[in-house]
Symmetry: C2
Subunit: 211 residues, 2 copies
Amino acid sequence: MSMRISDLSASSGVSLPTLKFYLREGLLQPGESTGRNQAAYDERHLRRLRLVRALTEVGNLSLKEVKAVLDAADDPTLPIHELLGVAQYALEPPSPSAIEASAAATVDAAIEMLGWRVSDDAPARRSIAHAVEVLRSLGWSVDPADLVRYAKAVDRLAESEVAISDGAIDRERLVERMVVGSVVFEAILTAFRRLAQEHHSAARRRSVAER
Amino acid sequence: MSMRISDLSASSGVSLPTLKFYLREGLLQPGESTGRNQAAYDERHLRRLRLVRALTEVGNLSLKEVKAVLDAADDPTLPIHELLGVAQYALEPPSPSAIEASAAATVDAAIEMLGWRVSDDAPARRSIAHAVEVLRSLGWSVDPADLVRYAKAVDRLAESEVAISDGAIDRERLVERMVVGSVVFEAILTAFRRLAQEHHSAARRRSVAER
């Protein structure tokens, strides 16, 4: 299948100006040149546009964040086993540079209790430490065991999630799975948490009313 | 403790222009008037500023979203048991108005399998359906059982989370717990998922290398 840019726009539902913007910003791979100011696009471009949509619409990523992830994905010198890490690091929301030592120590203790081996400079560590810091500033007490409960909720899930990369054949597909899996399933997970809270909150009220 | 606005700024670390902006936008309750162009602020204002910080820095919410949540919190006519719902609905990222019927049906089937009682118009339902739609557009197969795995990961956690509201005494504290719990612990949960993926991904590589 070969398409001109106008066909790509019609097939993807992405407007022509947006396509040109994506090309300029490197979010979309260039088409194959077929003449002066003409290029041919194919199924790969269509997939890439769906990927950008998944990341922006469902993952709520900015185009800058999408770019960082896709740049990692497109870098052929990056070993496959590092892709997940790079994509994750690009996806991590920024945390302030200074984190209180006591908050960082609480996170370290939780990871120690879990027996997980994760990099000392994993940005997710800092995200959790920052959250702990903010909770404490609001007067909550947060100890490592509290954090471990959250970690355990996603432990098995993450184990099965990383296994999906086993079946993937080509690099492009693998990257797509990792990135989409990371971002879109995060949205699914957090939305289910909200539904579960709604369900359990209503269930508690019913049981109180019945007492 | 009573403070002038300059003291509030010094205690909270929030600049004077930002404080004035928050007051104008209704993110911060007005202080008690103590004279012409003078008002007194107290511990409640300081807590509110920490809450705004928690929602923006850790929860990554826009000020518009923070406002929606705080408006619900500040509305004295809203029954306490509806607060969680209103806060959640305000926090839900927007999804497109048109969702494919087949994606919505997959979510309905998952909720049926879980036996959860949640409102038909819970925005989290739409978020999940939209995610399913996007995954399918990328060629993933997603059935209700896949979704149930994600739901089950957070089921117990959510049950214990809604129980925290039992001990709260005053409305203001309760709202704060719900909102902070919802937003900050979501950040903790998703960050742990990324750490768990890193851990399990590395563990798989080690076990492959040892074969």
